[in-house]
């Protein structure tokens, strides 16, 4: 039904010598009913990709299929999709009811059917009392719900969300996130959700697509993306504070950063120059004399946890420890214990993951 196939999708702006390629052959298969989050920094092409699925941008190369039907040449209205925009794009002069009913009116549905669908969507989204208001009289969160209502009444195969939460305040955002999750569980409609916010991505996604500079860096479940980042970009983008990336030389069972040599709990997948990745929470404080020496430079108390910034040889390193543990003193050297399973290895040149564990899909 609502499966989406992206096949070598490309987007180029301009012609000839001035042509700028912003999407470089993106491919992905999205199953019916899946909730997919496309995440990446601004300018990575995630919104462009979404707009190509919506039909608002022309597809310069490759193919997009929705529900097994290639939609390259179809108008947005013919693609059986609905989109929620970042600034909601509600028609300012229409009431909430008319905003939701507009698409159905154009599709020449009967009055009864429109009424029934709008009332149903209003009930799901708790908009019942607001149907006769205009968007101007609504709060940001209510407008956001109306925008979703407008999508729901169309009963499309695919929902497209273009950063729909970024205009809401933090509290409302968390609440709406839960509502969107609930909605997806109830309706089971394939959803493509674009965001630059990794928390949104991690919490909402069944699978996420991490994009950078017009290419897909990794596709996978939040656990896979967080647990086995496919590249240094993903490692640095997902997780806050980001994964520590240490550049050095792997020599058997030790890793050399400048003059310092760190013992490895398990051998590196290969010798020579490598990037070693380690998440701040995966190193623990060890006993004196054992493990990696971290010279503490700064400490931040966040309540439940404490961030310890320091140096490991020449390299900066961030450590996250439980807030109830006694804080190390600034200037002290603490010992880090590193579990073998939490070490990530990346190629220095390409930034891609190396080693057996890199085969995360």
């Amino acid at each position: 039904m609502g499966a989406i196939s992206l096949r070598a999708v490309e987007k180029t702006y301009g012609h000839g010598a001035k042509a700028v390629k912003v999407i470089h052959g993106v491919g992905a298969e999205i199953a019916d009913g899946e909730f997919i989050v496309i995440v990446g920094p601004s300018g990575c092409g995630k919104s462009t990709l979404l707009r190509m699925v919506a039909g608002l941008e022309e597809i310069s190369g490759g193919e997009i299929a929705i529900g097994g039907r290639v939609v390259n040449q179809l108008e947005p209205a013919e693609r059986d999709i609905a989109m929620v925009f970042q600034n909601y794009a509600l028609y300012p002069h229409m009431t909430v009811y008319d905003n939701m009913a507009y698409g159905l009116k154009i599709a020449k549905r009967s009055k009864d059917e429109i009424e029934q669908r709008v009332q149903k969507a209003a009930k799901i989204l708790e908009l019942g009392g607001l149907l006769q208001r205009t968007p101007r009289q609504l709060s940001g969160g209510q407008r956001q719900r109306v925008a979703m209502g407008r999508a729901i009444v169309r009963q499309p195969q695919v929902f497209l969300f273009d950063e729909p939460l970024s205009n809401l305040d933090a509290k409302l955002r968390a609440q709406t996130r839960l509502e969107i999750q609930k909605l997806h569980r109830e309706l089971g409609v394939t959803s493509l959700f674009v965001t630059h916010d990794q928390v949104e991505a991690m919490t909402l996604a069944q699978r996420m697509i991490v994009m950078n500079a017009g290419r897909i860096e990794q596709i996978g479940t939040p656990e896979q993306v967080y647990g086995r980042p496919a590249s240094t970009f993903v490692a640095g983008f997902i997780g806050s504070p980001p994964m520590n990336l240490l550049q050095g030389q792997a020599e058997g069972a030790s890793f050399r950063i400048g003059n310092a040599s760190l013992p490895l709990p398990a051998a590196a997948p290969r010798g020579g120059p490598l990037l070693l990745g380690l998440r701040p929470e995966h190193a623990g404080l060890g006993r004196d004399g054992e493990g990696w020496p971290l010279q503490v430079e700064m400490i931040e108390m966040l309540g439940a946890e404490r961030l310890v910034y320091g140096r490991l040889g020449d390299a900066a390193f961030t450590l996250r420890i439980d807030g109830t543990l006694p804080a190390p003193r600034i200037g002290d050297t603490v010992r880090l214990q590193v579990p073998a399973s939490q070490l990530h290895w990346f190629d220095v040149g390409s930034g891609r993951r190396v080693g057996a564990e890199g085969a995360a899909a």
Binding site: G55, P76, M83, A89, H93, Y102, G103, I106, A107
Partner: protein, 285 residues
């Protein structure tokens, strides 16, 4: 103002009152003159400044025409008012319709020479009717449109100002609205009708006021293209009533006509004022 400075307040009121007097006094004189007989106006120098008792007769004479005390014939103003009203309405509505459509095309459609077209429209801003009046006259006369409503209105309908204004307004309409409408399945004309038109309502009202007055006050152009009396607009009628040379001018009828000619534009302003101000105050975006 939050400040409380009596002197400044008095001064600003003084200036305002003075301004009102300067603007309103001629209108008042016109009104007073229209309430006297022609004889009273000419005989008393200076003219009396209190209303006389001839008001009904003056306006009847102006509206319906007829013989004057001096024996000259005054043409009725009522049909001229109709001509003026029809032309002003056609000009205002035609201008708005054409400008809306051309601005819509220029802003929302990508066609070859789009910016060329826009700049051509823009350049005509520099060519008011008076500059191109002879070639326009030639065309209108060749098309046999002299002494017709078409001749009176069509050449004045194309408006670069209004097109430009609507273009600027359309540019402020967020792109997402267009895209939302596309996803809802609204074609271009549907979008125009259902979204753009309601959003431009207040600008349309403002332009209607301006263009109606523009159409109503046309003088030079009707002077050229009309030669038969039944196609004269009222503004021309006033001028024609002021006879030069030896013939006596029926000043009371002239002034009554002037007052009558003032009423429709004043009414339009008064009736549309609310919309007009609303257009300036709240931004519906």
């Amino acid at each position: 103002m939050v400040e409380n400075r009596p002197l400044a307040t008095t001064l600003s009121h003084l200036v305002l009152v003075l301004g009102v007097i300067i603007v309103a006094f001629p209108v008042y004189v016109t009104f007073v003159a229209s309430t006297h007989t022609a004889e009273e106006i000419v005989r008393n120098v200076p003219m009396p400044l209190v209303p006389g008792s001839n008001i009904v007769e003056s306006y009847k004479l102006a509206l319906l025409g007829g013989q004057t005390a001096y024996g000259s014939t005054i043409p009725p103003v009522a049909p001229m008012m109709v001509v003026s009203l029809v032309s002003a309405l056609v000009i205002a509505i035609g201008k708005i319709a054409i400008s809306l459509l051309s601005a819509f095309a220029v802003v929302y459609f990508r066609f070859p020479g789009r910016s060329l077209v826009f700049w051509m429209i823009f350049v005509t801003l520099m060519l008011p009717v008076e500059v191109r009046i002879l070639p326009t006259y030639k065309i209108v006369s060749d098309l046999g449109m002299l002494n017709t409503y078409a001749g009176l209105t069509v050449p004045l309908i194309a408006s670069a100002t209004a097109t430009f204004l609507f273009r600027q307004f359309f540019l402020t309409v967020p792109d997402e609205l267009v895209e939302a409408a596309r996803i809802d399945g609204a074609g271009p004309m549907r979008f125009f009708k259902d979204v753009l038109l309601p959003l431009s309502r207040t600008s349309i009202a403002a332009l209607f006021v301006i263009q109606f007055i523009y159409g109503w006050n046309q003088y030079l152009w009707p002077l050229l293209v009309t030669t038969s009396e039944d196609m004269y607009p009222v503004v021309m009628g006033i001028k024609r009533m002021i006879s030069g040379g030896d013939a006596a001018t029926e000043w009371n009828a002239v002034m009554a006509t002037a007052m009558l000619a003032m009423i429709p534009p004043a009414l339009v302003v008064l009736l549309m004022q609310k919309q007009f101000v609303k257009g300036l105050v709240d931004t519906e975006k």
